[in-house]
Symmetry: C2
Subunit: 378 residues, 2 copies
Amino acid sequence: MPLIQFVNRVWFDAGATKRIGAELQRLGVKRPLVCTDRGIAAAGILDQVKEHWPEDLPWIVFDGTPPNPTEAAVKAALELYRSEGCDGIVAIGGGSPIDLGKAVNLLASHAEPLAQYETARKGQGKIGKVGPLIAVPTTAGTGTEVSVGTIIVTEDGRKSTIASPYLIPNAAICDPELTLKLPASLTAATGMDAVTHCIEAYLSPLYNPIADAIALDGLKRSIRDGALERAVADGSDINARSDMMMAALEGALAFTKGLGAVHSMSHAAGRIEKLKLHHGTLNAVLLPPVLRFNAPHVGTKLDDIAAAMGLKSGGDVAEAISALNRRLGIPASLGAMGVTADAVDEMVGYASDDVSTLTNPVKPSAEDYRALFGASLT
Amino acid sequence: MPLIQFVNRVWFDAGATKRIGAELQRLGVKRPLVCTDRGIAAAGILDQVKEHWPEDLPWIVFDGTPPNPTEAAVKAALELYRSEGCDGIVAIGGGSPIDLGKAVNLLASHAEPLAQYETARKGQGKIGKVGPLIAVPTTAGTGTEVSVGTIIVTEDGRKSTIASPYLIPNAAICDPELTLKLPASLTAATGMDAVTHCIEAYLSPLYNPIADAIALDGLKRSIRDGALERAVADGSDINARSDMMMAALEGALAFTKGLGAVHSMSHAAGRIEKLKLHHGTLNAVLLPPVLRFNAPHVGTKLDDIAAAMGLKSGGDVAEAISALNRRLGIPASLGAMGVTADAVDEMVGYASDDVSTLTNPVKPSAEDYRALFGASLT
């Protein structure tokens, strides 16, 4: 079975789920806490994993992860972790349960509250060794299974990025079979998350040709070769599912060089709890206006992206993404997602403070962010 | 300064040498052994590093690394390591001193002899945690600064590949300024080593699209964009030197999916001690015949390689490599390097047993290897 090891161990194959037992044994975990959400349980995916669960290990499940995980949910899971005497975590789901699992793992050995560890507050140095964690993605999008980061709505109301090499999962089990039941709308939204990672990482000004090569390969796979549209059209297409799972992995390996203003804005909108906005959908909607804003500051990089996407020479990447969004059934604006003009002021503040703003090709001013949010509302 | 972290910490920039002190401090090393060779010392490169050496650390140097490092040299360095009470290693040089440093580091905490750890003898499981090691490459070729492996002529006369995640250097300092004085002939030979890594890794049948993308980027950089020929033509071209150092890094990240018959044959020839053959030169000479041998077994992968090299559609990769070798002043055959027909029998045996044979697109038989060596002699 393919083992892909760059930042961590990644078992990547249809059926890879059966490796969970061996990985838990390798890590010496005797009482893992399963972190997941009710959607994963309802879709029968949790049962798919349970089929391969080692007989001698208890099945202790926290399924209360909200769509944008909160510190309150992290603490609820931590309480279960402690009362059950857990010694490790298996996080099963999209980005939310895996990010929640990473945060539970952090607080199992580090003091509360989470805000002190936020990257934007230079909290990385306070993070040391944590317990073992295995990530089992059930969407092809975030790539959090190979990344240093977790994104949590902390108790102070911020959507905080917390990152440290110690938070990288000890192993990722990437089994495209677990994504076969993902509905078309979520396939589209999470897929566009991966696409946005590839594009924003490639446009980050940091020098990292290795990450750049990985990012362009993710775009070829997902867009030029059509895996994203095929996976949306036919969820049971295992080859398309596998290619999208690889593109998600590639997006996250690429964004070791940072992301950009799409993510800053997406995090700012994602923290509006009553709307429960999907991170990938937000990225998809925000990508075209941010691409137009960044265009004068990226040299010939948009040509490279256009070529990787399979556009004709000189093709308009922003327009191609808008057209792709339409074909995928993604809303045309933040307004169509329920965001209203009165939220803009607060979103501008949060976006400006977001750590992804630092690696946008040019630093957007508050006025720039105001204009970008304004343009995205309708 | 760019920090590139996939398998390990890589400081990559002109002037990165000044990071050595901070890395030694981070690793808690108080008495490092510098492993290098006399060529590095004679070229003044050791002085370049010493300029940035932390004042409070001793300067303990083993400079007796032979061109193809032997277990005897490893033991001589280990004796110095022990008598000086060393607690870490800084390996400065081409592949030989870094590979020697890795082996010294292994034997500093593990029992002799080295042969028991050989990958081909399933020795990887015997390798556990080793002491801290920083790799400072002075050629752009082997990529051993980011790889799991070391290649040593063990006391039983084999050119043994010994590999373990524990042998990955804790940090690599990739400073293209240290390669500016490398003579054109060695620039060519080490550069062709990196090129061979990219090609053989791409042709390995293991599934790893991430490694594949990195491999093709290495070929674009070194061949299509001309960095290798520019570095050979003008050794002081820092951009070409930097791109070749990146291509070397990329080659080694790519060969996490394995190498092929070129390396099996090159290792078999490289162990003939009296000839002191250069590994990169051997790879360059052996690459065209092995490409022709593999061609029927690689699907359309040679077209991808041709495109990455900038050849016209349908271009002959083997012929293009031969032509490149000629322009670089690389010998046309093993015969021209001093290898004679009476060595073939023994080389066939060693090549067949080499671990790289396992990831060649098709497993060459002894007769295949005999024919390939025969064709390479003239």
